[in-house]
């Protein structure tokens, strides 16, 4: 990946990420977030993690963001009328702490990064689906299986919440 492409994609992702928090209209924020996720997916691909990039595009940009869109529609979120300056004090306080932590982390990473670390060649097959699968199903098997149980629990929970309360069924009622 040539440096100019990296800089372009990185700048695009930062600008669209700013768009997520600075725009008033929730759907515009969502579109910005989709753009952010897609640029990060392309960055992944350009840096050799092709499969991770595509999974990012499928799962985050393609599925989760559509769910966000549904939430925005079904909760009927309107254009925000408050300005950024008038938030709750506690929100501002914790927000400032989080931002400071992030800046400190970034600073630590940038100062400690060895010069020319990017010059090491990636091993062959790096980021390929074969390697990803074999790592996932050997080294991280337990974590993988536990995650799937977690997802199952979430599905069961969602069904339990969404289920209609048991009651007499009206004659002629259809289940949707």
């Amino acid at each position: 990946m040539p440096p100019w492409l990296f800089v372009f994609l990185a700048a695009l992702s930062i600008i669209s990420a700013l768009g997520v928090i600075l725009q008033r209209n929730p759907v515009h924020s969502l579109l910005s977030l989709v753009l952010t996720l897609l640029t990060i997916a392309v960055l992944f691909m350009g840096l050799g993690a092709v499969v991770v990039g595509f999974l990012q595009a499928i799962v985050y940009a393609g599925a989760i963001m559509v769910l966000f869109l549904f939430v925005i529609w079904l909760l009927n979120l309107q254009v925000e009328t408050r300005s950024v300056a008038t938030g709750h004090l506690a929100l501002k306080f914790f927000g400032a702490i989080a931002a400071a932590t992030l800046v400190a982390e970034l600073f630590a990473i940038v100062t400690r990064a060895p010069a020319g670390a990017g010059a090491t060649a990636v091993p062959s097959g790096y980021g390929s689906i074969e390697q990803l699968a074999s790592t996932l199903f050997s080294e991280y098997l337990v974590a993988f299986e536990v995650t799937s149980v977690l997802l199952l629990a979430a599905i069961v929970g969602a069904i339990a919440i969404a289920r209609r309360p048991a009651g007499p069924v009206r004659p002629g009622a259809r289940s949707a």
Partner: protein, 375 residues
């Protein structure tokens, strides 16, 4: 990812343009089928009036409605007022048709339309982009394609179009799951995510006569893919996002002119895309039965030798032929079946196709573990 040398890039670009033209040609063919094929099925005459200064009529030529479909309709479409409703989100309203159309057209680049062809001492892979994770690329494009429909309906500031958009996007993400599961079982069968390698894996015959096509190894996946694919194109019997009596035209009701044409083209191109993917996954892609790189090996043991270039060209023709036949089949489905009710649609997707797809993946895995796969 190492960047390919420039000539290869140019070849890829040319192939991508060819593929795009083929896709648009198929979409035009489907459009013509909508006009005249539907008339044939419904025992009507169909479009037969458009002419240029009556030339054809004076010469006594038969009118097949070609001018209607290819000149009159597009010209009418593109010269109409491009209307943006009051209170619409203008930017998103203008963006949505392209968000819908782009992912569909972009998917065509990974479909192999022929084997590697050798011309003038160089070999060309007849596939615009040979991506080794083409299946993932395809799924991500299908996933992103929902936004154009959803935002088109939302940005129009119209209750009907919003309801149509909600219906359309709920339908598309529901059937994406079944589509994905069908593809997963196919991927497990061939052991690759590369569409060109999938076509290669479908060469050869069983018992001396039956081609090793996906439709025979994965018949259930084929049916699930076909059903979910038709649902993705939002065509009858899955055309719930539209409804003359309830939602008018659904998500695109507030669009006119070229943007409406873009939405229509999206549906038609998607139909062509589903046909091509069905061909690639289940009908052997560019494989011609009994044809190998040196000629036909007929079941009786006879060999008809054919030069290598002709074999490659026959492959391209076979791919196009299969795709056209499937396109016409999808068109006939549209004009034959009645439509579902929305709850039936959701029940079919979640309670019918999804468990079937899961079961198919399980059985495929079991067979591969027990018999060591089909590769």
């Amino acid at each position: 990812m190492s960047s390919p040398p420039v000539p290869e890039l140019i070849v890829g670009a040319i192939e991508a343009i060819v593929m795009l033209l083929v896709a648009l040609g198929l979409a035009m063919m489907l459009l013509y089928f909508e006009r005249k094929g539907s008339a044939l099925i419904q025992d009507r005459i169909g479009a037969n009036r458009a002419n240029i200064l009556g030339v054809g009529r004076r010469l006594g030529l038969p009118n097949f409605g070609l001018l209607n479909t290819f000149i009159a309709d597009p010209v009418k479409m593109f010269t109409k007022e491009d209307f943006v409703p009051d209170g619409a989100d203008k930017f998103v309203h203008a963006l949505a048709p392209f968000l819908a159309l782009f992912p569909v057209l972009a998917t065509f680049v990974v479909i192999p339309f022929g084997d590697t062809i050798a011309v003038a001492g160089r070999s060309f892979n007849l596939q615009a982009t040979n991506l080794n994770v083409a299946v993932l690329y395809m799924l991500s494009m299908i996933g992103v394609g929902v936004y154009g429909i959803a935002l088109g309906g939302w940005s129009s500031n119209n209750r009907w179009s919003l309801l149509g958009a909600i219906r359309a996007s709920a339908q598309m993400i529901s059937y994406e799951l079944a589509l994905g599961l069908a593809i997963i079982s196919v991927v497990m069968t061939y052991g690759t995510l590369d569409l060109q390698q999938m076509c290669h894996a479908q060469s050869g015959v069983w018992w001396g006569w039956l081609p090793r096509w996906g439709i025979f190894t994965q018949p259930l996946a084929c049916i699930i893919f076909l059903t979910a694919g038709v649902a993705e194109t939002k065509r009858i019997p899955f055309d719930l996002p539209e409804g003359e009596s309830e939602l008018v035209l659904g998500y695109s009701v507030e669009y006119s002119g070229g943007k409406q044409a873009a939405f229509m083209l999206t549906d038609l191109a998607e139909q062509a895309l589903v046909s091509m993917l069905l061909t690639t996954f289940f009908l052997g892609g560019w494989q011609v039965p009994y044809l190998y790189h040196d000629g036909f090996h007929l079941p009786g043991g006879a060999l008809i030798a054919i030069p290598a270039l002709a074999v490659s060209i026959l492959g391209v023709i076979a791919f196009l032929l299969k795709t056209v036949v499937l396109c016409l089949f999808l068109g006939m489905v549209r004009w034959t079946l009645p439509r579902f009710r929305y709850d039936q649609l959701m029940r079919l997707g979640w309670k019918g196709l999804l468990p079937l797809g899961l079961a198919n993946v399980m059985v495929t895995a079991l067979v591969i573990v027990m018999f060591g796969g089909t590769r």
